[in-house]
Amino acid sequence: MIIKNQAIVADDWVLLRLNEQECAESVAIPEGKVIVPLQVWLAQHETLRQRAEVGVWLASDERPEKLKEDIHKFSVIAVDFPKFSDGRGYSIAYNLRARLGYEGELRAIGDVLRDQLFYMQRVGFDAFAPRPDRSIEDTLKGLTDFSEVYQTSINEKLPLFRRVQRKGNSAASVA
């Protein structure tokens, strides 16, 4: 199960992580819906692009620009959070959405926890695979911590000051 579009849904994608013995060029990729590491995609994209559906995931130190030419081929792009406190994934997501124009499913994987979900959603993630030892129902609550935000980001194209009429001093000074 994953969280997608604010709901808990079944997930039939398989996430491929290489172990130490495997290398990107030669690893055998199972049939069906597989999310492969970026390195595997780069090494085997000639065969992988024949598939009807394919996904790719990025580590936090990898650059999304590497997907530029194939960006619209993916059914899902995932970004890995090796630790929840590693914030590079937020900028990767921003760049995928804002710069590379990716509009498909953008999934947070790895150390994905309730208290970071709100920020993840704001930078363009629309799917979340919470850490397996955590309750997915509980994690879902993280998406609704705040009902208003100040800045522009991916899920809110206008900053607060362009969206609403805010009051200046004449009203506030009465209080």
Binding site: G87, Y90, A98, D115, Y119, D138, Q151, F161, K167, S173
Partner: protein, 580 residues
Amino acid sequence: MYRYDEYDQQIVDERVKQYRDQVRRRLSGELTEEEFLPLRLQNGLYMQIHAYMLRIAVPYGLISSKQMRMFAHIARKYDRNYGHFTTRQNIQFNWIKLEDTPDILADLASVEMHAIQTSGNCVRNITSDEYAGVARDEVVDPRPYAEILRQWSTFHPEFAYLPRKFKIAISGGKEDRAAIYAHDIGLSVTKNAQGEIGFRVLVGGGLGRTPIIGSEICEFVPWQHILTYVESILRVYNQYGRRDNKYKARIKILVKALGIDEFKRQVETDWADLKDGPGTLTVEEVNRVVSFFSDPTYETLTDHDSKLNEFKADSRSFTNWMLRNVKPHRVPGYAIVVLSLKKPGSVPGDATAEQMEAVAELADRYSFGELRITHQQNLVLADVRQKDLIHLWQDAGAYELTASNIGLLTDIISCPGAEFCTLANARSIPLAQLIAQRFEDLDFQHDIGEITLNISGCVNACGQHHIGNIGITGVEKKDHEEWYQVSLGGAEGNDSSIGKIIGPSFTFDQIPEVIDRVLQVYLRERIEAERFIDTVRRIGHTPFKEQVYAKDFASAEEEIADKHKVVPAQYALPYYSPRF
């Protein structure tokens, strides 16, 4: 000052609710301490030696009397009757229980305050000039832009888990009073030849283990673009700042590694996509925020008051106070008053609940109900009628807030040190007290004149020792005893510089004598009214070194087995400790 509208209030209220649930989950074990750590830090909650410490944001140091009274309430209800004002214009409470923190944040939210992003690897509280809006040399009032940046940085989704903390300071005067050269981003709001407002942007300054003066990344960013420009700086940093070593994770290391030219190229490449986009500031928004910082209703007065002069002639202590603690105001007949939290023998930056209530009352009576907190850990009443100065001085004197030492030797900046902080190698506060007592004589201090003395208990430099004319740092030695390094030549402001260490370190008890020897050299070598820092720059370190190390120090060493166990005498035990 700025007042919350329904959006600001809603965001802060929802934060309290979110945090209350996080604390509940921590106490029930649903959240591990490791997972809770950045959540509590981003609400200003640190675990110190004796208890939790809560750091509350005072955005750009500006606070109302009502908010100050709330601090007094918090000091009484949740702490030990006092608080500590910090070098980043915030306040810290040192004896807090985790269980109480949601209620404290709710109390704060009721007076438009919070502890958001006062710690953690995120954009911290924006600091500014304590004389903003009233300084005579002001080009542009920085406060509206500080508020706009505060809102922009509050819960910025992309920059909550940066490689390391990120500090922004903004100043708007000809003279920099916000230490903008010592910040991750330093902004100087100014006007170009056409009279248009914009920002000189500095990046990569900072203290800590590797003190670096910030480099100019852009000479003039027009005001409309400041949020997007700062966003691009942060995005480059978030992606490429080092995460493998916390001591090399600040933006200054990245700027140094890339070089300012390459760093600027990367920032401006990123910025090219944002420029003129929706993040661009609008005239309406700037005007809206500026409207909160319009002048109070000043009376038409003149600068000359015969009563003041008569009183000065009668009272030497009032004259001294006028000389050091009263600063010129841009409006005739008004003055800026600095209330000193550095009375010799007291803890630099500490204020009791009674003092907080007293300064709130003074603000209501004499300064339109507003106060500022300075980065030298003092308090400011920014709009005092000159004809009220005598009464103000008398009223404030009753609460020990009139030490006439602003900018002098005993106006010491000090971090909390090893008695409170797990990072510190040595005590800071008792050393500050020892120094202040040794040089208490006000005539001597006035003779020495302008000087800054900053103390940090370790290399992390919370006491900003690098930019003190005299800097003192607690250093680690194998024997785990307290040792201190002394540096000379640091300065903040327009001619910022990093101090240089004079030589081998000293014990706690030797430090006052070391300072005395340093000052003897200054008194011997100074030319006319030359400031201490100018003498150091002119003659270099050698004469000071020679004098300091010429003779042995009398030995009267106090034995301290474990500095972390030394609980300051003024804080009665038993204490609550989260560590045991």
